[in-house]
Symmetry: C2
Subunit: 231 residues, 2 copies
């Protein structure tokens, strides 16, 4: 089963809606604040009820709608432990499983590197990789306790050990691409397929990317599930 | 199984990629000329081989990549009979079935109204409705042998007779929406849910929409699968 892939053109963020035919339970991964109505309406049109909202990490480029959506629907919010999302209903750890619908489960894999707390989520033959593994690339590792060394380990030992036909659904794409597979990324990923650990670390150290404009605002907001701090 | 939904921002066209896990066969519905490389790369990343390219109708707002994709991959092109797509490998009629992968089939439903030849395609519990049924709306009926009377019949008697939980995947959306269900559209569709036939026809007659800029160019090109006429 593929998720429904939703897109935010401002931050090039993918939000994922997971559900199975005949089951009302749905999960949203990484919803974006300005699309909270879009996402509620999408749930309504598909006859779905939101059970959980999952964050792959504390985002630095957009604000989540997790708190708002959970407040409206009664869904449970879940965030990686170690990301400092205090008000989340569930603090997720490596190896946790989230059960939903009838027999569906999401397996939590700790994949630090983009941030220290970053998680990936496996559902059936899909993996939602956040900013850890992108299509033909990876997330930056130069802020929020990022670590190129940790990211290399996360991708090459945790994600690349998933079956080759596992579909990869990243949190972002900036070039109009939608999905990939573990098998394709193992062979072709421009940063991680053929690089030694040291070469990868040197590459990431050399990027000198500009500081995200929304860094402080977004991180502070997302650690409160996107809700005002006086709420 | 959900299709992968791909988007063209110029014409707000959805292209759909249909496949099932573990099976290499894939189908594209309504691919857009300028995205032919994107779509081939997407097939490659997912380890898929293109078996068929289907057109829901002869589009007036964009040019198809069907001919190019089929030429490169060896896939078969399929278009509705009555749309004047002479070079298509298959001319589709109401009730036809297209078999692909292992036991998968697409059922062809003739749903005239946007154009006289328009088809909808049913795959499992999904229906690809082209410009016949849009989310909370419908396609225009004022050119290319369009008919509001025929569209009303197509939607209310053919599409609305599908099971309520059938997911609706339209050829366009202009408001950031992705998918719907037959059940939702039967109750809520602003043009078709509560309208009598006569009210609907009067509404469509009153729209006075501007003529599509690409009408002649696109229709002529699409009747040749998007290939140059001297090819």
């Amino acid at each position: 089963m593929n998720p429904l892939q939703l897109f935010d053109t401002e931050s090039s963020t993918f939000t994922y809606l997971l559900f199975t035919p005949g089951q009302p339970d749905a999960i949203l991964i990484d919803p974006v604040a300005r699309h909270w109505e879009r996402d509620l309406q999408q749930l309504d049109r598909l006859g779905l009820q939101l059970a959980f909202v999952l964050e792959t990490h504390v985002h630095a480029d957009h604000v989540t709608s997790a708190g708002k959506l959970c407040g409206i629907t009664g869904a449970k919010s879940a965030a990686p432990t170690g990301c400092g999302v205090g008000p989340a209903d569930m603090q997720l750890n490596d190896g946790d499983q989230i059960a939903f619908a009838d027999g569906e489960k999401i397996c939590v894999i700790h994949t630090p590197g983009h941030t220290a707390g970053s998680m990936s989520y496996v559902w059936r033959d899909n993996v939602f990789t956040g900013d850890t593994l992108l299509i033909d690339g990876c997330g930056r590792t130069d802020f929020q306790s990022g670590s190129a060394d940790a990211l290399y380990t996360s991708v090459t030992t945790r994600l690349f050990s998933l079956p080759d036909d596992t579909r990869v659904w990243p949190a972002h794409d900036y070039k109009g691409r939608s999905a990939s597979t573990i098998g394709w990324e193992k062979i072709h990923n421009a940063r991680l397929a053929q690089s030694s650990r040291n070469d990868f670390i040197a590459l990431m150290d050399s990027l000198h990317l500009p500081r995200p404009k929304l860094l402080e605002i977004a991180v502070t907001a997302n650690q409160n599930l996107g809700l005002p701090h006086n709420a």
